[in-house]
């Protein structure tokens, strides 16, 4: 599994790899002509309206083009395939429409993040902190260095806490195989549904209101660890399951203790997968804002001591600057968003690469 999101358990079955070839599905010329007309006519009509009138494109697309395209496709299908084709052609139009819509949304997000974020990017923005910087300070001063350090510090501590526990949970399910396996899996599953703000509230009640910790990187990291643990545990479980049973029985037959089988055979065999699990866990939490608002607050200074002071991270920095009435502050938010997105993209690409290599091997 190489995706960044959690998936239900039932999905671990054989997938269809190859779509069967259908040589008999050659289409007659009539079909292509009807399709061409059904594609060209609505575009032409909407193009004409667009050039003649001032209707905003979004409205034009949803209210005029989309129904028109459905109608045209339906008619074309009626002509070429008869009554039964109408629903089919509508499904095709709807499916392409849904895909286009999602692509537009994703494209718009990525485009704005890059286009607006690049305005803020300069060396000082990456390396300086925001001490003495007010929302109205020009972009040439101050930056997100402290927030980047904060993010690395918090995520790093969270990984130190959650990775051993997550792997131990996976080892329990796949290696120890105790009686409680179904319950453990159920609890991990349930834990993955804990809203991030609740994780923050939990740390707030247990550690901060009781005076054990101040609002700091460590407190934020504990909240992050709660959110990370289920992702690490479930992905690690999946990769440990892929380790061939022969390796375990072979090592046992040679006289290894169980602890050694796990530490010297099973985990090394699944090394890449474990790294993927850790990275997926990091990707799950790196952009979480709500828990940090409750447990780490913010700080314009660079903080490296995980327990002494409140600390800013990239998400909280963005959060603080979004709704400011100063354009420079907003640009800083976009710049931080670009930095965060680059982190996410790196994690995403590396997990994809590792996952792909594992599958082909």
């Amino acid at each position: 599994m190489t995706t960044v999101m959690e998936r239900p358990e039932s999905l671990n079955g054989p997938a269809i790899e190859q779509v069967p070839q259908r040589p008999w599905s050659k289409r007659p010329a009539k079909f292509w002509i009807a399709t061409a007309i059904a594609v060209v006519v609505p575009i032409a009509v909407v193009g004409l309206i667009y050039s003649a009138d001032v209707t905003p494109p979004a409205i034009l697309l949803t209210v005029i083009y989309f129904p028109l395209q459905l109608l045209a496709a339906g008619l074309a299908a009626l002509v070429t395939k008869g009554k039964h084709g109408i629903l089919d052609s509508c499904i095709i139009v709807l499916a392409i429409g849904a895909t286009a819509l999602s692509a537009i949304v994703l494209g718009s997000m990525l485009f704005t993040i890059i286009a607006r974020g690049i305005e803020a990017f300069r060396p000082s923005f990456i390396f300086q902190n925001s001490v003495y910087i007010s929302p109205s300070t020009p972009l040439d001063y101050g930056g997100i260095g402290h927030a980047i350090i904060g993010t690395f510090l918090i995520v790093g501590i969270a990984a130190i806490i959650s990775v051993p526990l997550g792997i131990a949970t996976a080892v329990y399910v796949t290696e120890v195989r105790g009686r409680a396996v179904p319950y453990v899996r159920f609890f991990v599953q349930a834990m993955s549904g804990v809203p991030s703000v609740v994780a923050g509230l939990f740390v707030l009640t247990v550690f901060i209101l009781t005076g054990v910790l101040r609002q700091s990187a460590l407190a934020g990291a504990i909240a992050y660890a709660i959110l990370m643990l289920p992702t690490v545990a479930r992905t690690a479980e999946e990769v440990l399951r892929l380790v061939p049973e022969e390796l375990r029985t072979g090592a046992l037959a040679l006289g290894s203790t169980r602890a050694r089988v796990v530490s010297k055979v099973v985990i090394p065999a699944a090394k890449t997968g474990i790294i993927t699990a850790v990275l997926l866990g990091v990707a799950r939490v790196v952009g979480e804002t709500a828990p940090l608002l409750l447990t780490a607050l913010k700080n314009d200074q660079t903080v490296v001591n995980p327990i002494s002071d409140p600390i800013s991270a990239l998400p909280t920095f963005i959060f603080d600057n979004v709704a400011q009435p100063y354009p420079d502050a907003v640009t800083r938010a976009w710049g931080a968003a670009l930095a965060l997105m680059i982190l996410v993209a790196i994690l995403f690409t590396v997990t994809r690469y590792l996952g792909g290599r594992k599958r082909s091997a």
Binding site: A103, T289, A290
Partner: protein
């Protein structure tokens, strides 16, 4: 795939190696962290909820007052609880059809290469942090969406659902639902696509050789086969929508009165967002406790939805095997 063969035989018995016993116990202990955390959340947040309920009574859950300065102060989160549900329903209504058609396109229509690219893009979309989606929504989505809402109101305003008397279209439940839908689409799509991909090819081929159209095949083969997984995926998305905080924070105006169904009217509620937006201005321990109590009920709600989702998914899995 690991099978349930012999590994466990010795682990509990006295014959097991001493190091192994320690190993087993350590791992077993660590495996229960998740239970510990869940129990911890229930106990600690629950303990904070008791004084709030004692002080406010059940009116904490049934009224819509939020009077922090009154003597005595009064708090009621009915509007928030209802608002969270309303937002989730709006998000579902928008996201589910889009996700289903997107998944159908990916699995049954797109060429293999395009399908692979789309899978990656959908996963990338799921990986975008919610604060960035909130930022994007605030500056890019909201201005045109306010216009769409005005048009919707102009032409369909006679339906009470789309009524708007104030003329103010900012911070509406519709807008927040739209943003939640954008966050749900990748979750529901990727699960639906995975489920649809697992439709046995024999069944699809049989349907096609019987002359079924795409619609018939979907309606009578693929969707019934994947129903449990798809419903489970939708429920997981729902759980995510209920707990979402930050993206909603930027696009919804928190109003304590219940906004029953005027989704184009400014103002709505969301428990998660309430917690974050009020946390900064709390004074006194009791107000923090009030927010913790709200969080407790949010936790119970999402736990319930997620448990239900997993139950559905697991039951279909058993039926299938």
């Amino acid at each position: 795939m690991a099978t349930d063969t012999p590994m466990r035989d010795l682990s509990g018995s006295k014959k097991a190696h001493r190091g192994d016993r320690i190993f087993n116990r350590t791992i077993t202990g660590a495996a229960f962290t998740s239970l510990l955390v869940l129990a911890g959340i229930t106990i600690f947040l629950g303990a904070q909820t008791i004084p709030v309920l004692q002080d406010q009574g059940l009116s904490f859950l049934t009224t819509t007052v939020w009077d922090t300065t009154g003597v005595p102060p009064e708090y009621g989160i009915a509007g928030m609880l209802y608002g969270s549900l309303l937002l989730a329903v709006i998000a579902l209504v928008i996201a589910v059809p889009v996700s289903l058609f997107l998944a159908v396109f990916m699995v049954f229509m797109a060429p293999a290469k395009l399908s692979k690219i789309l899978t990656n893009l959908i996963d990338l979309m799921a990986a975008i942090p919610s604060v960035i989606i909130g930022l994007w929504a605030f500056y890019v989505l909201v201005p045109p969406a306010e216009e769409w809402q005005q048009l919707l109101n102009q032409y369909l305003g006679w339906i009470p659902l789309f009524a708007n008397d104030s003329g103010n279209f900012s911070g509406t439940p519709f807008m927040a639902g739209l943003v939640l839908a954008i966050m749900m689409i990748p979750i529901v799509t990727s699960i639906t696509a995975e489920v649809l991909k697992r439709t046995p090819p024999e069944l699809i081929n049989a349907a096609e050789s019987l002359g079924c159209s795409m619609w018939t095949m979907l309606r009578y083969v693929a969707l019934p086969f994947g129903r449990g997984g798809i419903v489970g995926g939708i429920m997981l998305g729902l759980g995510r929508a209920l707990g979402e905080t930050i993206a909603v924070f930027f696009v919804l105006k928190i109003v304590f009165d219940i906004n029953f169904f005027n989704i184009l009217e400014s103002g709505g509620g969301s428990v998660a967002t309430l917690i974050v937006s009020k946390f900064g201005e709390t004074n006194g321990e009791f107000e923090v406790q009030v927010l913790l109590a709200a969080g407790f009920f949010l936790f119970l709600g999402t736990l319930f939805v997620n448990a239900l989702a997993n139950l559905i998914v697991r039951r279909t899995e058993r039926l299938r095997s």
